[in-house]
Symmetry: C2
Subunit: 179 residues, 2 copies
DNA sequence: ATCAGCATGTAAGGCGTTACATGATTCA
DNA sequence: TGAATCATGTAACGCCTTACATGCTGAT
């Protein structure tokens, strides 16, 4: 597997639960995962092709009744192995790029109102995201006995906790800037 | 300026305070900025060359007394303009890639202890980063009257608030996973 | 009929990292 | 003398996004 193509692991992770098409994978990534990882068709399809070549996934027979061809992929034993090795690998890369903080840091080059406006924009986005996260949370906490739901739940509460911290920070920052 | 090369703005932001060499810029980025943005020599030097070409920055005369050549850059009026336009632009891209959350999300493919270990690793890193942030904070809060320091201070408290939220989440997550 | 959604894929191009090449100075 | 730091730059390579190409199905 390519050294740094994390999209491979996202796909393997998804396929470890169920067989999926590239299109399905994209939809899954655009859901809850989107809060901490992104992926486009332009990376998903080539990844699937490459991983088929290295035996991490395999194509299933086309089971679509008419309509356009539909390729569902299944994870192989080798694929499961690769996924587990990654989970056990203690090296992680959390790569955070906050353009909002960059603008804040250099806010001195403009009027304070610009910074205040940028904080408002950030806050709006955070509030909207939080709404979505709350919905995920309430639907997940009903079935925490399900092992997988517990993991999903934890990623959602991670989002909620940090986003709520963002909101508190916004209020404090606004106060300081208006003083 | 290139459409999506944010490193240009980081450099312009830094140069809006003082004239710097590429090497200096790298050091600044590796400081407090590193918590929300990264940059390597391989992106900094080409960016400087490109921005000189488009008149956003200009080379100063070599003022090094002997030793290796040393190129200090100065931001031009056009550069200031570009920086301000970016600050006023309401579109922002906060691109967060948490490999830790990815591993958590797919934790079901391995033993729970692996997930617990991954949370430990995350927590260790967060605690270490927090120590650094606390130092920045205490040195900055002494001079909040300085306009720029106020902005730096706000980015640091952003980091502290979110990192503290991370730590609280770690404790909760551990409890749930050990139940 | 037309538009949204389903479905797969490629091509171009941008951004960025890593590693390498080069060489001076300073300090132990 | 050797290592660390200062200092600039290039080259290779990888990853990813955007846009494009193609075409079916189902609902309005």
């Amino acid at each position: 597997m390519a050294k740094d193509r994390k999209i491979d692991l996202v796909i393997l992770g998804l396929l470890s639960h169920e067989d999926l098409t590239g299109y399905d994978i994209k939809k899954r990534i655009d859901g809850a995962i989107n809060f901490f990882w992104k992926g486009s068709f332009g990376s998903i399809y080539p990844s699937l092709t490459a991983m088929e070549g290295s035996g991490l996934v395999q194509r299933l027979k086309d089971d679509s009744c008419g309509g356009r061809e539909k390729i569902r992929y299944h994870i192989t034993k080798k694929g499961i192995e690769a996924l587990r090795n990654w989970l056990k690998d203690e090296q992680v890369c959390n790569d955070l790029k906050y353009e909002t903080l960059l603008k804040l840091y250099f806010g001195g080059a403009e009027d304070r109102n610009i910074t205040l406006r940028n904080i408002d924009i950030f806050e709006e986005k955070v509030k909207a995201d939080l709404e979505v996260l709350y919905v995920y949370k309430s639907s997940l906490e009903k079935e925490l006995d399900n092992e997988d739901h517990l993991y999903y739940y934890l990623t959602v509460t991670f989002g909620i906790d940090t986003y709520e911290a963002y909101l508190k920070w916004c209020a404090k920052a606004r106060k300081l800037l208006k003083r």
